[in-house]
């Protein structure tokens, strides 16, 4: 009934996993260039835009995403970041997910196969448009 010596290794393993996932997330987020928000449904990109400045209240808006006639999610941009303000999926876990704002983070809605993620777009070397701007 009492804990045995090996239990400590289970907890060490958990701490290592948590550490690794933070490292993995960081590695995915360290692209150079502007952060880009991608909204994908069933693996297909439906909308993408540059990550707006969260201090700019003018950028705040809601983007409805319709999967088909009776399935929808509403992506919201607010001062907290990007989150899902409404959806009619059965579990509504996406609505309860916290807002995201840094590259590498994502919100998923499993029943609707929706994923909202922030990626760092790596600019190509010697890109004319990039140097011009």
């Amino acid at each position: 009934m009492r804990p045995k010596i090996g239990d400590i290794f289970v907890y060490i393993f958990i701490v290592v996993l948590v550490g690794l996932s933070f490292l993995g997330l960081k590695a995915m987020g360290t692209h150079k260039g502007k952060a880009v928000v991608r909204i994908e449904v069933d693996g297909k990109l439906v909308e993408t835009f540059e990550m707006p400045d969260l201090k700019d209240t003018g950028a705040f808006r809601e983007i409805p995403v319709d999967m088909n006639e009776d399935e929808f999610n509403v992506v919201r941009i607010s001062s907290k970041g990007i989150d899902i303000s409404d959806a009619n999926c059965p579990d509504r876990l996406c609505v309860y997910s916290p807002a995201i704002k840094t590259p590498g983070q994502s919100i998923i809605c499993i029943p609707h196969k929706l994923i909202v993620r922030i990626t760092g777009e790596t600019p190509k070397d010697g890109d004319v448009d990039d140097t011009a701007s």
């Binding site: 804990p3 045995k4 090996g6 958990i14 996932s21 933070f22 997330l25 995915m28 309860y96 993620r117």
Partner: protein, 168 residues
């Protein structure tokens, strides 16, 4: 144990796992996607009373029927990937390292691998490994608590079931 008796026991265990699987959907947990994993109690009990093969049978039947009960067919793949991975992990730990691990330790490891299995399935379906990294830390936190609790329940349930089986 007689063959018929064993079959009846397994059928009862599957039905109990199914009920647990179904009702835990109504119990809110702090993090999105986190669950109590009560059905894991029945997997542990089967593993320790019968063995790996029987535990896998219970996991697979429970996952398939549970997903159908819940009404979402896509749930099957998450349920199966998590259940099978955690079943394999717990069976390995129980058969090889039982001397060093308490039942709570094994149960916690099972919860951890259940989450890893589900997140790998989600990452594969959505084509982004970032899902695994994003949700793993918070789910690990939940796994420590639920794993310990489920281990405790399994311990007392096993103590009771073992004496009952011996009497029969």
């Amino acid at each position: 144990m007689k063959k018929t008796r064993k079959m009846t026991m397994l059928a009862l265990i599957v039905s109990q796992a199914l009920v647990l699987h179904y009702i835990e959907g109504f119990i809110p947990v702090l993090a999105p996607g986190a669950k109590l994993g009560l059905a894991n109690i029945m997997t542990m009990v089967t593993l320790m009373l019968f063995g790996f093969k029987e535990a896998m049978v219970v996991v697979i039947i429970r996952s398939v029927l549970g997903s159908l009960l819940g009404g979402s067919v896509t749930g099957i793949i998450y349920s199966l990937s998590g259940g099978i991975l955690s079943g394999i992990a717990m069976a390995f730990l129980y058969s090889r390292l039982e001397k060093y691990l308490s039942i709570m330790g094994i149960s916690t490891a099972g919860a951890v691998f259940h989450n890893i299995g589900q997140l790998l399935a989600a990452s594969w379906i959505f084509g982004s490994i970032g899902i695994l990294f994003t949700y793993l830390p918070i789910l690990m936190l939940a796994a420590v608590a639920t794993g310990y609790f489920n281990g405790l329940v399994s311990h007392y349930l096993l103590g009771y079931l073992r004496t009952r089986i011996r009497e029969a």
